[in-house]
């Protein structure tokens, strides 16, 4: 079935260049361990202060994919904030994505410095561009977001450029 994505495209085009709210988070040890276990990590630096120090870290590091993978650093959405596909976490809640079915298309990460347990940070996401294409299942939107993560001192930790596919 071919869908007309013109309304969604127009809404997103109107938001190109805009940034969502600045999200704040802290890398707590339990969250780091849960992410490491869920992703299958076995490196002891994620689970042991001693191993982290022996590897030269001042504290346990977060796995390098953690900052960009977590979609919500607060309490999460209320149930009525969830879209029909279940999306609606804090990182993307501000975007006009109603009527789209979303999936991740890929990312490009620049890791500027390790993020350690107890690091407080901010994350700001900007809608860089949106483009309509035709895929095997019909029209789709490629939605490009750029998120910058800074620590409390203002140092850049990570830059994440990602593509969401909206159908």
């Amino acid at each position: 079935m071919t869908r007309d994505l013109a309304p969604q495209l127009a809404a997103l085009q109107a938001a190109v260049g805009l940034s969502g709210p600045v999200l704040e988070g802290v890398l707590d040890q339990r969250s780091v361990e849960r992410f490491a276990r869920a992703s299958g990590e076995t490196d002891p630096v994620y689970f042991s202060d001693q191993a982290a120090r022996a590897a030269g870290f001042a504290a346990r590091p977060a796995p390098p994919l953690m900052l960009s993978s977590v979609l919500d650093w607060g309490g999460g959405p209320t149930l009525d904030q969830l879209r029909p596909d279940g999306s609606g976490a804090g990182k993307e809640r501000w975007l006009p994505l109603a009527g789209l079915r979303l999936m991740g298309g890929g990312q490009s990460l620049e890791l500027h410095r390790p993020a350690l347990v107890e690091t407080a940070f901010t994350a700001t996401t900007t809608l860089r561009e949106v483009e309509q294409k035709t895929g095997g299942l019909g029209p789709l939107l490629l939605i490009v977001l750029v998120t910058s993560f800074h620590d409390a001192a203002g140092e850049l930790l990570l830059t994440c450029t990602e593509t969401l596919i909206g159908r």
Partner: protein, 147 residues
């Protein structure tokens, strides 16, 4: 943890890694990343979207790629950049094989910047293609990888 087996050089293949995903892992990864998207845990909904199963998260694929690159060069290495594109969905229960080949090596101080082209396949199907750049310190393995 594996340690570096040879000086990085262009054309060097990194050890292949096998990841056998489960619906429990996908559930735990969604929970750990506060990702409520239904395609990752709601099988009837995923099928309604045209998928053959609950879908492996894009970020979890990336964790597999990053881990394959990091494991290849041992404790003296750190990830500097990683990019990837999802080419085909993978599902809970799939066995995914991650392979890679070094495409560039250049010095950075006492260390090496090593670029690896990465692929993840389910059987013959390419699911993810990516590229990682690692900082590898062969003379300082096991030391000061956070410096």
């Amino acid at each position: 943890m594996s340690s570096i087996v040879a000086e990085p050089h262009v054309g060097m293949r990194i050890p292949a890694q096998l990841r056998e995903t489960t619906s429990a892992q996908l559930f735990l990864f969604s929970a750990a990343t506060a990702n409520p998207h239904r395609i990752h845990y709601d099988l009837p909904y995923a099928r309604d979207e045209g998928f053959d199963g609950v879908v492996v998260q894009s970020h979890l694929h990336a964790c597999f790629l990053a881990d394959a690159a990091l494991q290849a060069f041992g404790p003296g290495s750190a990830l500097r950049s990683l990019s990837w594109q999802n080419r085909a969905p993978a599902y809970a229960g799939d066995a995914l094989v991650i392979t890679g080949e070094v495409t560039a090596v250049r010095p950075e101080g006492d260390s090496l910047l090593v670029t690896i082209s990465l692929e993840e396949h389910r059987d013959a199907e390419l699911c993810v293609r990516g590229e990682a750049t690692m900082c590898v310190a062969p003379k300082q393995q096991g030391k000061a990888r956070n410096s």
